[in-house]
């Protein structure tokens, strides 16, 4: 009990961190909570309550986040990640009609969730991979069940799961080498569709099962004449409708083969000559009419053809055609009772037709300003009571990866879902305003007379702004007093340096610019490296160059290079060289920073700009588990460079590198020493050429954390930890004279106490020049030293004195990073993502200080000089140190910090699935008057004093006169 109490006490104690004020939320931070780009087959409208007409919009995006969105305002009702990691497409998401739950599946898990609250109903795991998920709408009990089709190493397994409990009702196994594709139901049967045969000549095999027992009723195959080469070639629509369809095209896209489930054979539909793609849309309700629409895409536009299926003989017949229209076309199906409506969204209008006749039921023009280019859409069509009027809501996934809701032709809201799955981010400076400084500089360079005339002219010119300025005074005064700060959303530098642009590259090859000046809104996006279906853009390097025009350079793994203007999003250069890039090094050149691309063998790709060969030693992660330092020397012809390997860090067999931490590019040190409580000074070991390498040996679970000199390759310090779980991730950060690592550890303490520790840990290490205070070690005050000197020489590279300490953290901490301020005077915070609580935390360095006294309270001098607290093995994380506060931030892979102009503040952006940005002030905002500064009180006090003086002055005068007379 006592311990529990003291941990509560510690919760209070550790509150020296500055927290977020509630009124600053959305002002200093922004958060894009995302699903990923919605997939056509996993997006739908669904009514979460049977007796309520209101429906929610559900989706499973291509990064594996699924959930519900309020269709009226685009806000998230709930969302979850379908898997621990970010997925690349895939997954299944279905909702039973008139039920309050939804089912999702991915990998080996099947889950059911309450559609309204987002609480889990059940979740279950099976061997094998889920290939399809379907709802069994009509059962013998009136309950709705889930059908999950698995591929267990070549064995096709269909399981019927209890809709309320998730237990297996029956299981169907088929021991053959078929590739399971789909499961479907109609009123009578369950159909399992699989590919039968060899990749050169697959045929479709359809097995029908009994709903009640899951036993095989019948099976048949449909020949494809070698037109189907894999699961991706088969289209499947109308899963639960009266007549589910299977369709595939031939390789030349000249005809579409359609097979109606439950019938024999196939039927052909001829396609136009210019067809580039075919999509089929069909209703998925049993009561809906068996009609479907074939959307034929051409290079310039698309058209739709509506077909009717005769339920008696399974024959399809063309009913009518929707004419070919230029531009992006998207069709969607919605059904109301037996009626089926097809919605067509083009660049300038939305129209609905009934599946029965080509007459347009209603059309709505789209505002040209909305720029909707639909890729695919889902729609909800409602016939207004009593009239011929319709209401329509369409959730459109656009070509630019946005998710927009169009209601009766008006764009209601738009979510930048393409921002998800970001693989890199960089802070770009805004260009300096064409400023007074420039004008003054101009004047300084001319002769005094003309400078004077220029100045007078300038002032006269400035006068025209005076009336507007005078007019703005009252509003500014009122705004300032009422605390409603006027926000300048223009892309200009502000005096605090808070306005910057975050350039984010996503795995879809799209690059985004977000401005912190207007709450993290997307200011531009460009599809710089378009990716083919199923491929991802791998970012290898991303740097920003400041100056007059901010240019961001990206380097991809396939040799793609692009330069983008960070302010306008203009793509200045795109080069695709095709050579494989393994890594890049950021080189500080004469004209700013540039990226040196290296191939897998560590050789530079391409030529050096201006023929300048970097002098630095470049650390390369070689093939296999090796890290090496290489240098370049200009070759004889000046253009090609000779590469010399300086050192190699080789690992023992069975060891692997789990993390390499490098210093942030901006890492100023304000003080070279640390003043101790007794007024002595410990000098910091400040070697900028150091990296931290974490090496894990999987066999005995030993983690070794090594500080490596990048010039000589020497290991300067190392710590080893037992019982470290590599599967839970290791993350490190290095800055100034310290480094920190976090991991999961379970081991016996080696202090002889026989205690075991289990939990997530964070270790912290300080480096000093020598163990004795006031001593700078063997190097003394010498201005420089060489890491390459022999270790036993008097001017040897001294090994640092190491102080290290470990803490047990309450949660895993990943993506460690550190705050950066302009001068480095402000204290630092270790930024980390907590994947279990979906939060970004800023842990003050003081809390991780390895000098925290163990077993005793710090004395007053230590507290005052070093800010030390008593060591406590558990590191409780105060909720107030969570910089993302109440926000639910999912799937963060990296955190990038950048300094502002004011010393107190760091700009932080965390990205991955979501994008979260904020401003962090590790020592409080000591150089800004924040919202807490009460101007009203100040004015009131001044007025009160003035009133007091007015009131007292006559009294004092009177009393003085009286006294004079009295005497």
């Amino acid at each position: 009990m006592r311990r529990a109490f003291s941990s509560i006490l510690l919760l209070g104690l550790s509150s020296f961190a500055t927290a977020v004020f509630q009124d600053e939320v959305d002002d200093i931070d922004f958060h894009h909570s995302l699903f990923g780009v919605p997939q056509a087959e996993t997006t739908f409208f669904h009514r979460p309550r049977k007796d309520d007409k209101a429906s929610l919009l559900y989706t499973l995006g291509d990064v594996g986040v699924f959930g519900a969105v309020n269709p009226s305002n685009g806000e998230i009702v709930w969302r979850h990640q379908i898997s621990t990691d970010t997925t690349i497409g895939g997954g299944h998401f279905r909702a039973p009609e008139d039920e309050d739950w939804v089912a999702a599946a991915h990998g080996s898990t099947v889950q059911a969730w309450n559609a309204l609250t987002g609480r889990n109903s059940w979740h279950t795991n099976f061997a094998g991979d889920v290939k399809d998920l379907e709802i069994l709408e009509v059962t013998e009990t009136g309950r709705k069940d889930v059908l999950a089709l698995f591929d267990e190493d070549g064995v096709t397994v269909l399981r019927r799961l209890h809709g309320k409990l998730g237990t297996v009702v029956w299981e169907f196994r088929q021991q053959n080498k078929d590739i399971p594709l789909q499961v479907s139901t109609n009123i009578a049967n369950i159909y399992v569709i699989s590919l039968h045969g060899s990749p050169s000549s697959y045929s479709l095999k359809i097995t029908s099962l009994d709903t009640l027992t899951g036993s095989r009723v019948n099976d048949w195959t449909v020949g494809t004449k070698g037109e189907v080469h894999g699961p991706q070639d088969v289209m499947f629509v109308g899963a639960n409708s009266a007549a589910p369809l299977l369709a595939w095209t031939d390789s030349s896209l000249s005809k579409l083969n359609v097979h109606v489930l439950g019938t024999k054979g196939k039927q052909e539909i001829a396609l136009g000559a210019e067809t580039t793609g075919v999509v089929i849309h069909a209703p998925h309700l049993t009561q809906s009419l068996p009609h479907f629409l074939v959307h034929t895409k051409t290079a310039t536009g698309g058209k739709g053809e509506v077909y009717h299926t005769n339920l008696k003989n399974g024959q399809i017949s063309r009913a009518y055609e929707l004419p070919h229209l230029k531009g992006e076309n998207a069709f969607s199906t919605s059904s109301e009772g037996a009626n089926v409506y097809f919605t067509r969204i083009t660049g300038d209008e939305i129209l609905i037709v009934s599946s029965e006749s080509p007459a347009v039921l209603q059309r709505w023009p789209l505002a040209p300003s909305s720029h909707i280019k639909a890729r695919h859409a889902v729609s909800e069509v409602i016939k207004k009571p009593g009239g011929e009027e319709f209401a329509i809501r369409s959730a459109v996934t656009t070509v630019s990866d946005d998710w927009t809701l169009v209601r009766n032709g008006n764009a209601d809201w738009s979510r930048p879902e393409g921002l998800s799955g970001s693989v890199g981010a960089v802070w770009a400076e805004l260009p300096e305003t064409e400023s007074l400084a420039k004008a003054l500089e101009e004047e300084a360079h001319t002769n005094p007379l003309s400078a004077y005339i220029h100045r007078v002219k300038r002032h006269i010119n400035d006068l025209k702004y005076l009336p507007a300025w005078l007019q703005s005074i009252p509003t500014r005064l009122i705004d300032s007093l009422s605390g409603e700060a006027h926000r300048d959303t223009s892309l200009h530098r502000d005096s605090f340096g808070f306005n910057k642009v975050v350039v984010l590259a996503t795995r879809r090859g799209r690059v985004y610019g977000l401005s912190t000046a207007n709450a993290g809104k997307v200011i531009w996006s460009a599809n710089v490296f378009p990716q083919l279906q199923g491929q991802s853009f791998e970012l290898k390097g991303l740097v920003a160059n400041g100056g007059e025009s901010s240019v961001v350079t990206l380097q991809g793994s396939k040799g793609e290079i692009a330069d983008i203007n960070a302010i306008t999003g203009e793509v200045l250069r795109v080069v695709a060289s095709g050579s494989t890039i393994e890594s890049t090094a950021t080189i500080q050149g004469e004209n700013g920073v540039w990226l040196l691309a290296l191939d897998p063998s560590g050789k530079p790709v391409g030529e050096f700009p201006n023929g300048v060969v970097p002098k630095e030693t470049i650390v390369v992660r070689g093939e296999g588990e090796v890290i090496k330092g290489v240098r370049f020397e200009a070759g004889e012809d000046g253009a090609t460079a000779q590469q010399t390997e300086v050192w190699q860090l080789q690992l023992l067999p069975g060891q692997r590198i789990v993390e390499v931490a490098v210093r942030p590019s901006h890492d100023p040190v304000a003080s070279i020493g640390r003043v101790l409580g007794d007024r002595n000074v410990n000098y910091k070991y400040l070697n900028t050429n150091t990296i931290v390498v974490a090496v894990l040996s999987d066999a005995d679970s030993v983690l070794s954390i090594r500080l490596v000199d990048t010039v000589s390759g020497q290991i300067l310090a190392s710590q080893s930890y037992d019982g470290v779980d590599g599967s839970k991730g290791v993350s490190c950060v290095i800055s100034e004279n310290w480094y920190t690592c976090s991991f999961f550890g379970q081991y016996l303490l080696n202090d002889g106490s026989g205690q075991t520790i289990k939990g997530y840990q964070i270790t912290s290490t300080d480096l000093y020049e020598s163990s004795a205070p006031n001593d700078r070690g063997p190097l003394g005050d010498s201005a420089n030293f060489s890491s390459l000197n022999p270790v036993d020489s008097p001017s040897q590279a001294p090994l640092p004195f190491v102080v290290s300490q470990g803490f047990v953290a309450i949660q895993p901490l990943t993506s460690l990073s550190v705050t950066q301020t302009r001068q480095g005077i402000t204290g630092r915070q270790v930024l980390a993502y907590m994947p279990e609580s979906h939060a970004v935390v800023g842990i003050p360095r003081q809390a991780l200080d390895p000098r925290r006294p163990v077993g005793r309270d710090p004395n007053a001098a230590e507290q005052e000089a070093e800010g030390l607290m008593k060591y406590w093995p558990s590191l409780e994380i105060d909720p107030r140190s969570i910089v993302s506060h109440e926000r639910d931030v999912i799937g963060i892979n990296n955190i990038v910090a950048a300094p502002a102009i004011v010393e107190s503040t760091t700009l932080v952006v965390a990205y991955g699935v979501d994008v979260f940005g904020t401003r962090v002030a590790p020592s409080g905002v000591f150089d800004i008057l924040g919202k807490g500064f009460n101007k009203f009180t100040l004015i009131l006090t001044v007025l009160a004093l003035f009133g007091g003086v007015i009131f007292l002055a006559p009294m004092v005068r009177r009393s003085q006169i009286n006294r004079q007379w009295g005497e």
């Binding site: 311990r3 529990a4 941990s7 509560i8 919760l11 500055t18 927290a19 977020v20 004020f21 509630q22 709930w78 979850h80 621990t84 080996s108 898990t109 889950q111 309450n114 609250t117 609480r119 889990n120 109903s121 059940w122 979740h123 795991n125 061997a127 679970s701 599967s727 839970k728 999961f744 379970q746 106490s753 205690q755 075991t756 520790i757 289990k758 939990g759 047990v808 309450i810 949660q811 907590m834 279990e836 609580s837 979906h838 939060a839 406590w872 093995p873 558990s874 590191l875 909720p879 107030r880 969570i882 506060h885 109440e886 639910d888 919202k931 807490g932 009460n934 007292l952 009294m955 006294r963």
Partner: protein, 224 residues
């Protein structure tokens, strides 16, 4: 739900697995917890996570046994105590409170385990993410010692003449006589009885003993 593939394989191989259910206490109101609330089970090489269910439980299925697990509940609004759950090879579940940063064998209070391996979670504290902004109130201004001093002296300044007027003549005369001796008259009276009321600060600091000359009569008034 999020069973690591390795754990899954281990489960198939050994088939020694148990189910564990964690249920929430009645306080805080379990229905008010956000749907992102989840519980995790950790041990070396093992990791399980379960989302909050519609029944306010966390269900872990096929947890490999035997094992000793650290149980954490991650919730955006509330903090729960970490627990230690041991699952024996026969599926028997034992649960205790555990203390972070302490010996794993150092267990706290044992938590009763219901049939079917259900364990009640322990609530610790509500989370508060935000810093309170000091609110403006007249009272805080009045509490300021400078303001208080100003108010008191203002009261004396305004009130004193009134009191003087209402005093009976005898007392007034006495008071005036007293005041004439006091140090205040030196300041107010503009030079009257200067030699009597003056306090020789330089002399005092130099250590000269005034009492020798004045018989210690007036020093009462100047000892501030």
């Amino acid at each position: 739900m999020r069973l690591e593939a390795a754990c899954l394989l281990a489960f198939i191989a050994s088939a020694l697995a148990a189910d564990l259910t964690l249920y929430l206490p009645s306080k805080p109101n379990p229905w008010s917890l956000p749907p992102s609330t989840r519980a995790t089970l950790d041990s070396l090489g093992e990791h399980y996570a379960a989302p909050i269910s519609s029944l306010n439980t966390f269900v872990f299925k096929n947890v490999s046994a035997p094992g000793s697990y650290l149980v954490d509940i991650h919730c955006a609004t509330d903090t729960f105590k970490p627990l230690r759950v041991d699952i024996a090879a026969d599926g028997k579940v034992d649960a205790w409170e555990t203390f972070r940063g302490n010996d794993w064998a150092n267990r706290g209070e044992a938590i009763p385990v219901q049939d079917g391996g259900a364990v009640e979670a322990r609530f610790l504290i509500k989370k508060n993410y935000f810093q309170e902004r000091p609110k403006f109130s007249v009272l805080t201004i009045l509490k300021n010692p400078m303001i208080l001093m100003g108010l008191v002296s203002m009261g004396i300044f305004i009130g004193m003449p009134k009191i003087m007027e209402n005093m009976d003549p005898e007392m007034k005369a006495e008071f005036e006589a007293r005041q004439a001796e006091g140090p205040l008259s030196a300041l107010m009276g503009g030079g009257a009885s200067r030699d009597q009321g003056s306090f020789d600060m330089a002399g005092y600091l130099a250590g000269s003993n005034k009492e020798d000359g004045n018989g210690g009569k007036k020093s009462q008034g100047v000892r501030r």
